[in-house]
């Protein structure tokens, strides 16, 4: 009996101490990103973008001291869930920011939102989180996954391409990419070709493309696959004859390896390093000075995520107690995004502009994507209407 009272008393004391400390306690942000394996560069870009924002904000979010805890999801959904539980239960983070990959995003979604913690995606935007499984605790500073592909579909349609050759790796995201492309493209698809995931030799695909002579090709080949495809496409002499439309294939994460081979190839994006706003110029210059690399959209989304949290906490006076107030403040998106126009749709995904971007070599010898034309203005994703109105 005595023992139980003691324990209870102790627990009470600890509880008291905890509430007492609440006011001065640091705000905790868990960054969940892929930081190992072949795709590590994407996670590094996001981590660096977020930390650059923290530096620019003086280490404070909404006037409150903030601590950033970085964890590596290893691109394994099960590992990610374990690590997220650590962030939620041991570190008691106020926000989880990340991840890069959609399979990870879907796996950690439930544990995070079930614990009433805010979850801000800096890249992954799977359709179910935008539609049926949307949640009031979930926001994305990136895009819904289909949208970058839709940009190229719209471009192909507007330019009057009659025959397009589609090429993607044989897994879910590859199939989604081609479906996204076809949402706005109504011309003939001469071939919908799927190669095994992590295929690195595209010689036989290139022979087929050369013999079919399509008006353009569209492809989704992230990471090392994209590096090889672009180099081989150039070597086969196709780059100057058949326009290369792509998404997540030619960007700041792959350009350092593709270099000259990628020049003139097209991608779809909501931003590019040369986007002409004063905030963006400052961001790109500061990022390059700090990390000696050209930032990609991964860094931009993470930078914006920090600004978003900062803006919301300014509105609540640094308090996290009233979750509804925090949510309302987040939903207002009252910050100056690096990409210019930015607001949230009702499903927590951005309503923003999309551009056709083109790979180019800068005067200083580095490579980046540059805006070729604006394709969509204030564009919302296709799944928002499936999201329940209660949000």
């Amino acid at each position: 009996m005595n023992h139980i009272t003691k324990t209870l008393g102790l627990a009470g004391l600890i509880g008291l101490a905890a509430t007492g400390a609440q006011a001065q306690e640091k705000l905790k942000i868990g960054l969940l990103l892929t930081l190992s394996g072949p795709s590590a560069v994407l996670g590094q870009q996001a981590r660096d973008g977020f930390q650059l924002a923290m530096k620019d904000l003086g280490g404070k979010l909404g006037g409150r001291e903030a601590e950033v805890i970085v964890v590596d999801d290893e691109l394994k959904p099960d590992v990610a869930v374990t690590k997220v539980k650590g962030l939620l239960e041991r570190d008691k983070v106020d926000f989880v920011v990340g991840p890069i990959f959609s399979n990870v995003a879907v796996a950690v979604h439930k544990p995070i939102v079930d614990s009433n913690t805010f979850y801000i995606s800096t890249n992954a935007g799977p359709s179910n989180l935008a539609g049926k499984s949307c949640n009031p605790y979930f926001f994305a500073t990136s895009y819904q996954n289909d949208q970058n592909h839709e940009v190229l579909g719209k471009v192909a349609q507007d330019r009057g391409y009659k025959k397009v050759y589609l090429l993607a790796p044989n897994y879910q995201a590859g199939k989604d990419a081609l479906a996204g492309f076809k949402r706005h493209y109504k011309g003939e698809v001469v071939e919908e070709s799927y190669v095994p995931l992590n295929n690195l030799d595209f010689q036989s695909e290139l022979a087929k493309i050369a013999s079919m002579k399509p008006d353009a090709i569209f492809t989704f080949m992230p990471g090392g696959m994209g590096v090889n495809l672009v180099k081989q496409y150039r070597a086969a002499g196709l780059a100057d004859r058949i326009p290369f439309l792509s998404a997540f294939t030619v960007d700041e994460s792959t350009l350092p390896a593709q270099q000259d081979a990628a020049i003139g190839m097209f991608g779809g994006s909501n931003w590019a390093p040369n986007l002409d706003t004063p905030e963006n110029k400052k961001f790109v210059a500061a990022y390059e000075a700090a990390y000696n690399a050209v930032p990609g959209s991964y860094s931009m989304h993470a930078y914006d995520a920090a600004l978003l949290i900062d803006s919301a906490l300014k509105a609540t006076g640094g308090k996290m107690d009233d979750k509804n107030a925090v949510r309302a403040a987040l939903a207002k998106a009252n910050f100056k995004s690096l990409r210019g126009d930015f607001k949230f749709g009702q499903n927590g995904f951005p309503v923003q502009d999309f551009y056709l971007v083109k790979a180019a070599k800068r005067a200083d010898g580095k490579f980046q994507t540059e805006i070729a034309e604006k394709v969509f203005d204030d564009y919302a994703d296709a799944y928002g209407k499936e999201c329940a109105a209660t949000n």
């Binding site: 394996g37 072949p38 030799d201 036989s204 090392g224 090889n228 086969a236």
Partner: protein, 306 residues
Amino acid sequence: MTTTLLLVQALNGLQFGLILFLIAAGLTLVFGVMDFINLAHGVQYMVGAYLVAAFASWTGSFGTALLLALPAALAFGLLLEVLVFRHLYDRDHLDQVLATFGIILFLNQGVKFVWGAAPLNVPVPEVLSGSVEIADGLLYPVYRLAIIAAGLGVAALLYGLVSHTRIGMLVRAGATNAPMVSALGVNIRRLFMVVFGFGAMLAGFAGAMVAPILSVEPGMGDNILILAFVVIVIGGIGSVRGAFLAAILVGLVDTVGRSFAPNLLRLVLDPAAASQSGRALAPMMIYILMAAILFFRPSGLFPVKR
């Protein structure tokens, strides 16, 4: 679909097949002569690619890098033989599989530790960096033609070695009946070591040759190992001639099948269904080929007589 496309794809298939042959030749000798299952053969291919990448960035020349990488791959193979494999020859296949699988894990992590997880880039040598127009509007990189030439050259060399030299005769005899060769006074252990080192060097050579056209990354040997096993099973275990023919066959069926299966099916199905099932069928083709060949010739195309 034109005849030129068929020819181009046949060329691609030939190139893929020759790379497979370089890997399978060593594997089939080790398996056939020593009755030793070496799953780590794929990582020796990876090590060859990493060695050439390291030497190329050090010396700045692919040719020099290749010349340095070959003895290094040989030395590495011999080191593995002395340290690990030598102790496994008398064990059963399960022990060999477990130990060599461990080596795969160890070396994949090892290269990650030394060179990092990001893929490495090996530039194509300057003299071979051009391309020739082989079909209407399609340029074919000269380097790939060089791979074909090198593969055929090694095949000819191996044929000469295995069929017309004393050591080749011993290797063939060892594949047929190792205890008898040993009883006739040949140091079978030394023979094993020579065969093993040579096989490792061939796999390393294959890795080095593909380094400029594929990216050099951890785990790059794992998938190709499975295909190499398919090749040696089709060709007949222990037979270099069988490995050569089977490798070319697998390379052609895989490459040509992938690009023509939907078209062939279109003759009997409607286009949508043909493209769907063609896509599903293409990756299976080599396994169907293997099943068919094993049905008619259970010991492969060129079984070693025992």
